[in-house]
């Protein structure tokens, strides 16, 4: 049963399984990512939970390493697998190369993983798109997006999930040099983008800030202290 590929080409060149996976992503709650000058911001739409459900924050923003984070839209269970593989790769990279991953490296790793599942026997693609943010060793902020097909691109600002189109249009209009001039401005832009989604439902936003310079400095100090 595992010798037949599930993801095959259609006569007109489509990979329907991948496209269906992208549909699954469109059903997930929205996530937005913004790259500022010295900051990267991730914001996610928090789904209202059932009455009896523990409102322990469903963590849609996950740390992959001390300097890299990601948010996702789509199948939460699939995301857990991808995130775990990425976390292991972050440490494995540190072990072999003695350096933390660059944001592009870990994005490429996740994207390659996703692509492999579009070309394997008996497997289906991951039903998630991911927004990966972080800082490289030289302090440059980065924002990348991956999708179920396994492609990845760098972005200045992007959104994925349910209202991605609306939010992206908002960002296209409002992402200017002034709007991301300071860290706080960038955070405000992310929150404003998510507030676009405010309809009849009450929506909270989870905002994650990565102040890399401070973190890096603090980490460097700690490393100097203990080595």
């Amino acid at each position: 049963i595992y010798d037949r590929a599930i993801t095959v080409f259609s006569p007109d060149g489509h990979l329907f399984q991948v496209e269906y996976a992208q549909e699954a992503v469109k059903k997930g709650s929205t996530a937005v990512g913004i790259r500022g000058k010295d900051i990267v911001v991730l914001g996610v739409e928090k789904k209202s939970v059932a009455k009896l459900q523990e409102e322990r924050t469903v963590r849609k923003i996950c740390a992959l390493d001390d300097h890299v984070c990601m948010a996702f839209a789509g199948l939460t269970a699939d995301a857990r697998i991808v995130i775990n593989r990425a976390r292991v790769e972050c440490q494995s990279h540190r072990l072999t190369v003695e350096d933390p991953v660059t944001v592009e490296y870990i994005t490429r790793h996740i994207a390659t993983l996703k692509q492999r599942y579009t070309q394997s026997n008996g497997r289906r693609p991951f039903g998630i798109s991911a927004l990966i943010v972080g800082f490289d060793c030289d302090g440059t902020p980065r924002l990348y997006q991956t999708d179920p097909s396994g492609t990845y691109h760098a972005w200045k600002a992007n959104a994925i999930g349910r209202s991605a189109k609306t939010v992206r249009e908002f960002l296209e209009k409002n992402y200017t040099e002034e709007s991301i001039a300071t860290d706080n401005e960038a955070i405000k832009l992310a929150i404003k983008a998510l507030l676009e989604l405010l309809e009849s439902k009450e929506i909270e936003t989870l905002v994650t800030e990565i102040e890399k310079e401070k973190e890096e400095e603090a980490e460097k100090k700690k490393q100097k202290k203990s080595t």
């Binding site: 740390a63 992959l64 390493d65 775990n84 976390r87 292991v88 972050c90 440490q91 494995s92 540190r94 072990l95 700690k222 490393q223 202290k225 203990s226 080595t227």
Partner: protein
């Protein structure tokens, strides 16, 4: 011959390791750091077969970090020690065992300071004080004599008196192999602190290597 020592205080753990990296009869390096930071409050001191030490210690180090990433909190010293022991034990009966002797020192918010002794046969023991190497034969008896249950109180001036003060010079003065310097670190509720390198009088040290 390499040397490790650890002593548990009332609210801290004090550890020291020698700094020599040798190859047969030659001292290759005199500023080798044999302590590996597993987390903000856990240090792994590792000596033994060349290569195995760093390989094993770094493997444990990265796995402890992975646990932190996956679960959002760090392993306690007790958990880290048991994890390390399990790894060592699993490899022991394989074709490629790790020949390393370890001390794991850490501070836990609930349990306080802890020192764990581990050897290459994967024995694990929580102890108030411990040492590895030939130097241990000379220093454990001093620790037996002077150590008080409940740990030694912290006071800067006494830190380098009993027993740490006595211990390294003993291997130095009576021991055929010269250990010229020791890295000393202290772990308490605030984390890991570097203390001054211990260089007993009469120790011979080469000119320091160009700073890395």
């Amino acid at each position: 011959m390499e040397y490790l020592i650890g002593i548990q205080g009332q609210d801290f753990v004090l550890v020291a390791a020698d700094n020599i990296a040798a190859n047969s009869i030659i001292q290759m390096k005199q500023d080798q750091d044999k302590m590996f930071k597993l987390s903000d409050k856990i240090l792994l001191l590792c000596v033994g077969e060349a290569g195995d030490t760093v390989q094993f210690a770094e493997y444990i180090q990265k796995n402890i970090q992975l646990y932190k990433m996956r679960n959002g909190y760090e392993l306690s010293p007790k958990a880290a020690a048991n994890f390390t022991r399990k790894n060592l034990a699993d490899y022991l009966r394989s074709r490629t065992p790790y020949h390393v002797n370890l001390l794991l020192a850490g501070f836990d918010e609930t349990d306080g300071p802890g020192l764990y002794y581990m050897d290459h046969l994967s024995a694990l023991a929580k102890a108030p004080f411990a040492a590895h190497g030939y130097g241990a034969y000379l220093t454990l008896s001093i620790l037996d004599r002077y150590y008080r249950p409940g740990g030694i109180p912290r006071s800067p001036s006494r830190l380098f008196t009993i027993p740490l003060f006595y211990c390294p010079p003993s291997p130095l003065s009576r021991f055929i192999l010269n250990l010229p310097s020791f890295t000393v670190r202290l772990i308490d509720t605030e984390g890991i602190h570097d203390l001054e390198k211990l260089m007993p009088v009469g120790a011979k040290l080469l000119a320091p290597a160009p700073s890395s």
